[in-house]
């Protein structure tokens, strides 16, 4: 059981003038839930995802992961937290093109443990099997389709058995059929891995697959409701 909370999170970017992006965001998430953050307009949702994922820091407010305020952590502790606790699935997949599909899935494990034991390899293969691309394990990312790359990224996000999975526009570049399959995977992952699963999207059709839909407009939470139809 793990919790993630955002208390009064504000975020501004500073260029020639201050550009506020997020205003007073208060949210909390629990294990075994699949939530979506929907923002049809623009930039706020990715910023929020980066803050939840500890890649970015709020201008004010606090992010608390499992009772620990992340503002208390140094760079190294944050890197460890991301590696062990959070799995990322990005819109552009961000696989390492120099490594095979299987090696890409193994990387989160190799970051904290250089030993690649048989159980570890077995787990990576099980995950590839779960997302339906085990037969592609020795292919390089440029040799497979966008949907297959996204499935690889999902398997990679699950490798370290993270408590929190963040997916930023995970179907953004996929066709509708692949989108349907990827969304189907989210429900299965939530059930099997008991995680906090947060999908950030502009697409209501994707959000419809989640238990809870949080809508953001112009940097503010405008609605936060349970999805009865999921």
């Amino acid at each position: 059981m793990i919790t993630m909370e955002l208390h009064g999170v504000n975020k501004s970017y500073y260029g020639a003038y201050e550009q506020p992006v997020l205003f007073d965001i208060n949210l909390s998430f629990e294990s075994n839930t699949c939530s979506s953050i929907v923002d049809e307009s623009g930039s706020g949702k990715s910023t929020l995802m980066n803050i939840i994922g500890t890649l970015d820091t709020p201008t004010s407010g606090e992010v608390i992961v499992d009772g620990q305020p992340i503002s208390w952590m140094n760079k190294k502790q944050l890197a460890e937290l991301r590696n062990r606790t959070i799995g990322f699935v990005f819109q552009f997949h961000y696989l390492l093109p120099e490594f095979t599909v299987l090696e890409n899935v193994l990387i989160p494990h190799l970051i904290h443990d250089r030993h690649q034991s048989k159980p570890v390899l077995d787990r990576a293969r099980q995950l590839l099997d779960m997302v339906g691309i085990l037969k592609l394990e020795n292919k390089l990312p440029p040799q497979i389709s966008g949907g297959e790359q996204q499935r690889t990224a999902i398997a990679r996000a699950l490798m370290n058995n993270p408590k929190i999975i963040l997916a930023d526009e995970p179907t953004g570049n996929l066709d509708s059929e692949t989108t349907r399959k990827v969304c189907g995977l989210f429900g299965e992952i939530k059930r099997r891995f008991q995680t906090i699963f947060i999908v950030v999207t502009h697409d209501h059709a994707v959000a419809a697959h989640t238990d809870r839909i949080i809508e953001i407009k112009d940097g503010r939470v405008v609605s936060d409701r349970l999805n009865q139809g999921s």
Binding site: S46, L55, A79, N83, L96, P97, I107
Partner: protein, 386 residues
């Protein structure tokens, strides 16, 4: 180790760039090895021609003393000095040899044949006759033999300063490769020379050679011997003191060779740093995602240090092979029509190992600059840019 694995894959994925940079290092290392070994070869042949076949430390009578007494005791005291190879003694004196119409000045060098042979290589230099077995026999050099038109077995009258004439028999001819020696040295038995010049049991020189690795410590060893003997009647000289100009020439040569090698090395470091810095930009997506997945900054930086190390390792090996090939080609193309090399090449393994280590260390060091750059890379910037 993940950093090493990623470094290897990055290098493989940019194959053209990697080959080019390895080639750059190889060229630089080959220049180093070529210039370095050529100069080492030149210096060694210069030294060989200067001190080869000659003693490197000599003990002579000092001041008014004309000969060394108690030389057996002196040898007994110095024989275990570290670095000494062969110790021998000579009893020498000026004399004249007469032919039908004229006389020629010579030096009668009485030697202990066995030990002197190890220093001068006399037995190898004898091209006719033999070294002689009796006290009445001498051997003379090629130039003197030709000038006096003598043959093995002929008699050689020798006039010593006190007016006496001694007749010796010529046992053989030698050629020590130095005209002056071939013309003036009449090599005789030690006791013969001692009697000829009235030395009694005294001698005129104790001569020594050094172990090859200790040649350049001749001054230190000579000073050590002088201090150990603490005898005012003798002086200890060494080849370095007698060849200061040669040594300063060699030092100048070494410095200029070092400067060339340093400049080449510096340009390699700059080149590697700039190429690897470009790879930080090229691989910023990959680095960003690795950081997002929790790779520690230190491990991300290590990727570039390992890239420097790997290209250094390979580049240096290729460079050494190339340098040795260049030397071989140089020797072939500059050889005389008889096939004699212009410079005797000496493959100094220590020098090669040192060049390799310096190249690898510099290349690794060059990886530190892009490694530092990679620390500044923020994963959010990469993810935001898409």
């Amino acid at each position: 180790m993940l950093s090493l694995k990623i470094a290897t894959r990055f290098l493989k994925s940019g194959r053209g760039q990697t080959v080019l940079i390895i080639f750059g290092i190889a060229i630089a290392v080959s220049v180093q090895v070529f210039v370095g070994l050529l100069i080492i070869g030149l210096q060694l042949s210069l030294i060989e021609s200067t001190i080869g076949g000659q003693p490197q430390i000599t003990i002579r009578p000092a001041g008014d003393t004309s000969a060394i007494r108690d030389w057996e005791a002196i040898i007994y005291r110095i024989r275990d000095t570290a670095g000494l190879d062969v110790i021998s003694v000579t009893a020498s004196g000026n004399a004249l040899v007469a032919d039908n119409n004229s006389t020629l000045p010579v030096v009668i060098r009485g030697v202990d044949f066995q030990s002197a042979d190890q220093i001068y290589g006399i037995s190898e230099a004898i091209y006719r006759g033999g070294p002689g077995t009796s006290r009445k026999e001498v051997i003379i050099g090629r130039d003197l033999a030709e000038e006096l038109e003598l043959d093995v077995g002929d008699k050689l009258p020798v006039l010593v300063p006190d007016g006496g004439v001694n007749i010796f028999e010529i046992a053989g001819f030698y050629d020590l490769g130095v005209g002056n020696i071939n013309r003036t040295w009449v090599i005789a038995n030690l006791v013969t020379a001692q009697r000829l010049f009235g030395y009694g049991d005294r001698i005129s020189e104790i001569i020594m050679t050094l172990d090859e690795s200790r040649l350049f410590a001749a001054d230190e060893i000579a000073a050590g011997i002088e201090a150990a003997l603490a005898n005012e009647d003798i002086e200890v000289t060494n080849w370095k003191a007698q060849n200061e100009e040669l040594l300063s020439g060699l030092e100048g040569q070494s410095i200029s060779s070092g400067v060339i090698q340093g400049v080449v090395l510096a340009s390699v470091v700059v080149a590697i740093s700039s190429v690897l810095s470009i790879t930080v930009l090229q691989k910023s997506r990959q680095l960003g995602i690795l950081k997002a997945m929790g790779i520690a900054d230190r491990d991300a930086s290590l990727i570039f240090v390992f890239q420097g190390l790997l290209i250094g390792l390979i580049g240096a090996v290729v460079g050494i092979a190339l340098g040795l090939g260049l030397l071989q080609a140089f020797n072939t193309f500059t050889a005389s029509p008889e096939g004699t090399a212009l410079v005797d090449i000496y493959i100094d393994y220590n020098f090669i190992l040192r060049s390799w280590l310096i190249a690898v260390a510099s290349s690794t060091l060059a990886g530190l600059i892009p490694a530092r750059r990679s620390l500044r890379l923020n994963p959010v910037d990469v993810i935001r840019e898409g």
